[in-house]
Amino acid sequence: MHKSLPLHASLAVLLLALFAFQFEVLQPFEKQLFGDGQIHFVDWLFLPHGLKVILVVILGSSVLWGVFPVQLAAMWLFLGTSFETALVYTSVATSGLWVGLALLNIPADRPLGKGFAGGDDTTFRLFRAVILIAFITSLITGLGMSTWYASIDGEWVFPFKFLIGDMLGTLVVLAILVAVRKPIFNAVKFK
């Protein structure tokens, strides 16, 4: 068994739990607070985006193999969308994460799928990488899903709404992780 498999599996479970929290707890709360509106399509605070981005920044593109099925299952099971919508969202969001990671690696002439945590590369700071990958991914997700919802559900969702929800979610998760970083760093023996 590959030595990083248990780590990836536990992170996938963590992401699935966060999706469950998002769709079962946070989304109903948002609906109560702001009314139904378009919250079924886009949240004002989307926490899983933050966790996905942080995982990709730390571990690189290898983590996407776990992120893809978790997102698919979460959208389909917890949110109750059609399988097609779940598949499109998962594909767009996962490819957005990869594009974001690759775009940050290209100017530094690094391997496209390499994360920013390991090694002695000090060119990038983790915070910068997280913010930029979150931004790029949410732009891609916003454009892709806005097109999809307009063509399938006839619902015009502003792409900027995705940007707000994703960036707020990233900042919240990042703030929580910064607050509890020491135990996590010790757990993964992070340099």
């Binding site: 290209i106 913010i131 916003g142 806005s146 063509s151």
Partner: protein
């Protein structure tokens, strides 16, 4: 005086881009896809690529040329209403500024002088230009799609993205083809 010369050169470059768009791209896309309505989004946005080159060269100082130049040229060459042309110019300016901010944030570059003046070799410049092209295309795609949402069919956000990506890609291809020449210029500047 010399900075006025730069502004004039940038404006001439923008005029050339608009002429290419007006005389080559517009008739060509009409001939190739006669049933498609290109009034909101062209197949390739060459002026957007030109705006990217200007901002790459001049930094944020190039933004007034992009905003006012685009507004003026759209009104005079493409029969766009003045107010609408100003809004288009502001879109492009905002997208380029955000992309420049993202690039400067990632690479810790000075915003005032543009990436061209701060690159140590042509390959770095081309990679940075690639990053900025994708960023600006995504941001401009989201901006345009958000403002014109619902005014065309569901594919509008993706058409905007495609148009700007192709416009930016034409710039990127030009820079790539000129990389040896750029290397000479950059080396001379460094020396």
């Amino acid at each position: 005086m010399s900075s006025l010369r730069y502004y004039f050169a940038a404006f001439v470059f923008l005029v050339i881009a608009f002429l290419v768009q007006w005389l080559v791209v517009v008739p060509l896309q009409g001939a190739l896809f006669p049933s498609v309505n290109f009034s909101l989004s062209h197949l390739i946005s060459v002026p957007f690529g030109a705006g990217l080159v200007i901002v790459l060269m001049m930094g944020f100082k190039g933004l007034p040329v992009v905003i006012f130049g685009k507004a003026f040229l759209e009104t005079s060459l493409m029969d766009v209403a003045p107010m609408e042309a100003v809004i288009h110019g502001v879109h492009d300016g905002a997208a380029l500024l955000l992309a420049l901010l993202a690039t400067a944030y990632m690479l810790r570059r000075d915003l005032k002088h543009g990436l061209f003046m701060q690159s140590v070799c042509a390959s770095t410049l081309v990679r940075q230009a690639f990053f900025m092209t994708i960023m600006a295309s995504l941001i401009d795609g989201v901006l345009h799609a958000s403002i014109n949402l619902g005014s065309a069919d569901a594919t509008l956000p993706m058409r905007y993205l495609m148009s700007h990506l192709l416009g930016g890609a034409s710039l990127f291809a030009m820079l790539y083809l000129l990389r040896y020449k750029l290397s000479q210029w950059v080396t001379v500047k460094d020396a």
